[in-house]
Symmetry: C2
Subunit: 273 residues, 2 copies
């Protein structure tokens, strides 16, 4: 785990978490932009449908990418841990320009891919330029520390969030999705309050964070991204509050960014455009 | 977060998680060995009492280390986040041979030290040779993924364990303590089942894992260490089980090691002596 080491002179690939429910028919801005980043119509895109329980989720994205003009889009059959250790589709990741992880349940991704050849390979290839996008559960799974579940509501409280190790593409931020639609600021604040080292990224539906090498984030899509920066957190009662009690946090910085907005995760600075 | 980068030619310092309740008076084998590793009586040891709510926890360890012959043992006053960002005791870590974190509540450690100068400095200094020991809560806090709390019992079940980001000295293992005494195998299995990438280390009381550079573990003390290796996990129902339901796991490897036993975390191999 942890992001794989890069190679000097080669840029890391993009990390592109999407808040779920991205537009697919009229003006699919996020998916279009992902295809552009991967190199356009000639690019090779692998689709990981593992999070979903629906049989046609992967095939639907395959059709969608083909409709957007992508010649080589392929569903990768990573259903069991064995598939992810030695299955025939592993080799495809070696030659992909981009990988797309669908929605579903992020714990299915972590229990199936965690610790396998596929997880290692995605980290290694991302470190040398392969782009990785994920929507909903696929977005939640991306960071080192993953939000596996939790309750709705805006006030943080102990045990409001279930955390688990994620894929480990980045350890600079913790990601939550369907953010405004499911009132998740409380659980993201809770995750950050446990250990205020990371930046919180709350993604609304149909909204993506395009994070390029050097931890430079740009907002794409119709909703907003809530950025939570605990750098100056002066006081927290997280260690004393009991289950169900509200937690006091003093000095958290918050930004709401919309389409075209940018955030420098490394320097912790926001820009409206 | 994540272990700091090492420097070629310089060994990383030991990481020494202790299961709590280590012997302090008659034959304090673990503390003696820690002092030896740090360089003996001339060594400089910093004590971090942040996990504890009792005022004299730090001073008691200071006396204890002095009784063991250590000339320079000092309690570091890291009570608030401000202390950990710019307090007068930060400089002491620059010149320590070893740091010792006391027991208490690991969430107090992560909420107070997380993301601060002190946390960064401990990681950086450990990467170039400073040794870090921690008992009970101090042990739980050490890895990238920390067990913050959970329920007793031997069968894994969703939500049986609360995880949070830890100090990040290692991402090769997840650590639990007071292991046999508080029946914690179920919650450690749960933590591993979320994402089976790491090795689980369950430490009995008065038992320590001396982990030297290269992830080589040796058991010291009167109890046992339970090592859980999910490398060959073939099946897990973690993604489907509901709160309170037991989780099925097939193919987990388990070792019980006692004093003198060794484990190569990198190669995932156990040796009885």
């Amino acid at each position: 785990m942890s992001p794989a080491n890069g190679i000097s002179g080669i840029d890391r690939g993009y990390i592109i978490p999407i808040g779920g429910a991205e537009e697919k028919l009229h003006n699919p801005e996020i998916l279009d932009r992902f295809v552009d980043v991967c190199g356009g119509k000639q690019s090779r895109i692998g689709i990981i449908p593992t999070a979903s329980e629906l049989e046609d989720t992967g095939r639907n994205y395959e059709k969608l990418f083909r409709k957007l003009g992508v010649k080589h889009a392929k569903v990768l059959s990573f259903i069991t841990r064995e598939d992810c250790q030695s299955g025939p589709d592993i080799g495809y990741i070696e030659k992909c320009d981009g990988v797309f992880m669908t929605g579903g349940n992020q714990l299915r991704l972590s229990t199936t891919l965690g610790g396998t050849t596929v997880a290692q390979l995605i980290r290694r290839r991302n470190a040398v330029g392969m782009h990785v996008a994920g929507t909903s559960a696929g977005a939640a799974f991306m960071p080192e520390h993953m939000i596996a579940g939790g309750s709705e509501g805006s006030t943080p409280s102990p045990d409001m969030v279930t955390m688990a190790p994620g894929l480990g593409l980045t350890n600079a931020c913790i990601i939550d999705q369907h953010f405004r639609q499911r009132d998740r600021i409380g659980r993201l604040l809770t995750a950050l309050a446990y250990n205020p080292f990371a930046i919180g990224i709350g993604l609304d539906e149909d909204t993506a964070a395009f994070i390029r090498a050097g931890d430079q984030l740009e907002v794409v899509g119709s909703g907003g991204i809530t950025v939570i920066d605990p750098t100056d957190l002066g006081y927290s009662s997280m260690d004393r509050a009991r289950r169900g009690e509200p937690v006091s946090l003093i000095g958290v910085k918050l930004h709401i960014l919309v389409s075209g907005g940018r955030y420098d995760i490394a320097a912790r600075k926001a820009f409206a455009e």
